[in-house]
């Protein structure tokens, strides 16, 4: 399956990352799961951005999901969550393009203080739809040669990205950004090992 679940633009602050804009495609999840899945994707995006050095790219594989993250030197970050069949190179090209457009639309001085409601960037959902077909999206961007695939750091599990001694379970338990129902959802998904990303 080639599918993009989420596309988000974040700002990597000194201590934590904030979401500036995000779009989700959660059709394949059941009605009662959607909320939790979305919360969880946001949480993971933030966690990963916080643990990515500026001016670097990472691809993290977790189960059947793939998380692509690019943090630019100016701390603007893009995250794309897809399944593992989505070509990494295309995903990173797309993130680059989205970030370029974002910085053209929203002045850099606003990034540090802005949040999801104050940022105007309505094209993100459109991109999410377009990117569902990587072959078309790839032709769309036409900057494919610029990207050196070897510079993307590949991780086979999310554990590899977390700092030493950190565990995702503990992070989930500690955080305030997930509701109790989402935490319960995470726990069950962990147990049954299905239907949940990461």
């Amino acid at each position: 399956m080639v599918k993009v679940y989420a596309l988000a633009v974040l700002y990597k602050g000194v201590n934590s990352a904030t979401v500036l804009k995000a779009a989700y495609n959660l059709q394949s999840f059941s009605f009662f799961q959607k909320g939790s899945v979305q919360e969880f994707m946001t949480f993971v995006s933030k966690t990963i951005v916080e643990r990515t050095q500026p001016a670097s790219r990472q691809s993290v594989k977790e189960g059947e999901y793939m998380l692509q993250v690019y943090v630019r030197a100016d701390n603007l970050a893009g995250v794309l969550i897809s399944d593992h069949e989505y070509p990494n190179r295309v995903a990173h090209t797309l993130i680059t393009k989205v970030l370029d457009e974002f910085s053209a639309k929203v002045p850099a001085s606003n990034w540090a203080t802005a949040n999801e409601t104050s940022v105007e960037f309505p094209v993100l959902p459109e991109y999410l739809v377009k990117f569902q077909n990587p072959r078309e999206a790839d032709a769309l961007t036409k900057i494919q040669d610029d990207l050196d695939e070897t510079k993307i750091i590949l991780h086979n599990t999310i554990k590899a990205v977390l700092d030493r001694g950190e565990h995702l379970d503990e992070l989930v338990a500690k955080t305030d950004s997930l509701s109790t129902s989402s935490k319960a959802f995470y726990k069950t998904a962990r147990k049954t090992n299905s239907c949940c990303n990461f």
């Binding site: 009605f31 009662f32 129902s181």
Partner: protein
């Protein structure tokens, strides 16, 4: 304490039953993870036409219902079902709850079958119910089997109006789409879809199966190009390809007009770029386009060693070849774009196998225990069937392998194998080995 729990479970059963009374509107069921009963509310959720049950109560409800079902309704084969109508409403309530929670239980589905046969359950409602089950467990084979059983009994009615069949088919296809989308490699949903199409060919009313074949062909072609490591959907695509080999002339025109490419051009382009250089074929792409089906096929498969008098349908043959080449070209693109996907290479094997079969078939040969032997035509040589088939002589096999058709395929395969190999795709080597040793082309590659 126990009394309290039973009262609660009874209430849950009642609540679920109330929601299910509007079953035609419901489209999904799910268990919602919830550690404890925090709010002292009913755990039965009903929002936006979805039915949900909080997870903390699942264990109690299931145990309670299952025990009662087994004790009262399933364990006494001697006192037979005549009395069933008496507790039938209760039985249905329990079956609903238990099957929603755990649908992998054929005994309970069989109970429902009995009720349907006694006209105590409505077939349309049953379709709705199994749909709810599939919305939570898209890989549940028991639910698909039950749907097939219900559908089969509905379709047996020859007086069923065509538009009813159409709406049934649409529902099935929507369900299969959702299920295949939720679970990659969902063998059961694709299998169900295949069953549906096969079953519809036996429907006696004038349902337009050809247009469904065309629709499904388009759909599967699109789906496979986005699900590049899901062999279940590729298998369905192959099924659809085979379905359109023998379309009627009219349907073929519809197929062609609905494609945004010209099948003949695709074929001719691939031919022109792969013609053997030493041969004296001077035809250019434009020339080839003006060829009739018969001339084009005769160019590709010049020599026919048919030992029977059956007439070759060149138009049909040409269509089959066009479809296969189109599929091959699509596969080229996918293999280049999505690297290292075994499924794509497996599909390629299918296409090549089909192409070789076309060729052997045309030359009146069949592969038997590794060797090519002459195929005796069942129409013309009825009496010869009993005799042992003679081994093919060397001259013949040389002739096949020097045909333009074969050379074009071989050149094309060599190109793609070399190209993918230099790109580091290990499956290219495997593909070559497949051609050499499984398709037994070792002597010619």
């Amino acid at each position: 304490m126990e009394e309290d729990k039973f009262a609660l479970v009874e209430k849950i059963i009642k609540d679920v039953h109330n929601v299910l009374s509007k079953i035609a509107e419901l489209y999904a069921f799910d268990v919602v993870p919830m550690d404890n009963n925090f709010q002292n509310k009913s755990p039965v959720l009903h929002m936006e036409n979805c039915l949900g049950l909080e997870s903390w109560c699942v264990k109690h409800v299931y145990m309670y219902c299952y025990t009662e079902l087994m004790d009262k309704y399933c364990m006494k084969p001697n006192r037979k079902s005549r009395k069933l109508a008496f507790g039938c409403e209760r039985l249905i309530k329990l079956l609903n709850v238990t099957l929603l929670l755990k649908p992998e239980n054929n005994s309970l589905w069989n109970k429902r079958r009995e009720l349907v046969l006694q006209a105590l359950l409505d077939k349309t409602v049953e379709l709705h119910f199994s749909r709810l089950v599939l919305s939570r467990k898209p890989k549940c084979n028991e639910a698909y089997a039950y749907r097939r059983w219900v559908l089969d009994s509905i379709l047996q009615d020859d007086t069923l109006p065509v538009h009813n069949i159409e709406s049934l088919v649409n529902d099935e296809i929507v369900i299969c789409n959702l299920a295949s989308d939720k679970c990659p490699n969902n063998y059961h949903s694709w299998n169900h879809r295949t069953w549906l199409l096969n079953r519809l060919t036996r429907v006696k009313s004038n349902f337009d199966i050809d247009s469904l074949f065309i629709k499904e062909y388009h759909f599967s072609e699109k789906w496979t190009s986005k699900h590049v490591s899901d062999f279940s959907c590729f298998h369905y695509y192959q099924f659809c390809l085979k379905n359109i080999y023998s379309l009627s002339d009219e349907s073929w025109k519809i197929l062609q007009s609905s494609l945004n490419i010209n099948l003949r051009k695709v074929l001719v382009k691939l031919l022109a770029t792969n013609f053997p250089k030493d041969l004296t074929i001077q035809a250019s792409e434009e020339n080839l386009l003006s060829y009739s089906e018969e001339n084009l096929m005769k160019l590709l498969l010049a020599y026919a060693n048919k030992n029977c008098k059956c007439v070759v349908d060149y138009v049909q043959l040409c269509r089959k070849v066009e479809i296969l080449f189109h599929s091959l070209v699509l596969n080229d693109e996918l293999i280049r774009f999505y690297k290292h996907h075994e499924t794509l290479w497996y599909h390629r094997r299918f296409i090549l196998h089909e192409m070789l079969m076309v060729m052997y078939d045309h030359f009146g040969l069949v592969r038997c225990k590794g060797a090519l032997v002459k195929k005796s035509c069942k129409v013309c040589y009825f009496e010869e069937l009993r005799q042992k088939q003679p081994k093919i002589v060397r001259y013949d096999s040389n002739h096949i392998y020097s045909s333009v058709f074969f050379n074009v395929i071989l050149t094309h395969e060599k190109k793609i194998i070399d190209e993918r190999r230099t790109d580091g795709d290990n499956f290219a080597d495997r593909h070559e080995k497949y051609l050499k040793f499984v398709e037994a082309l070792n002597s010619v590659i």
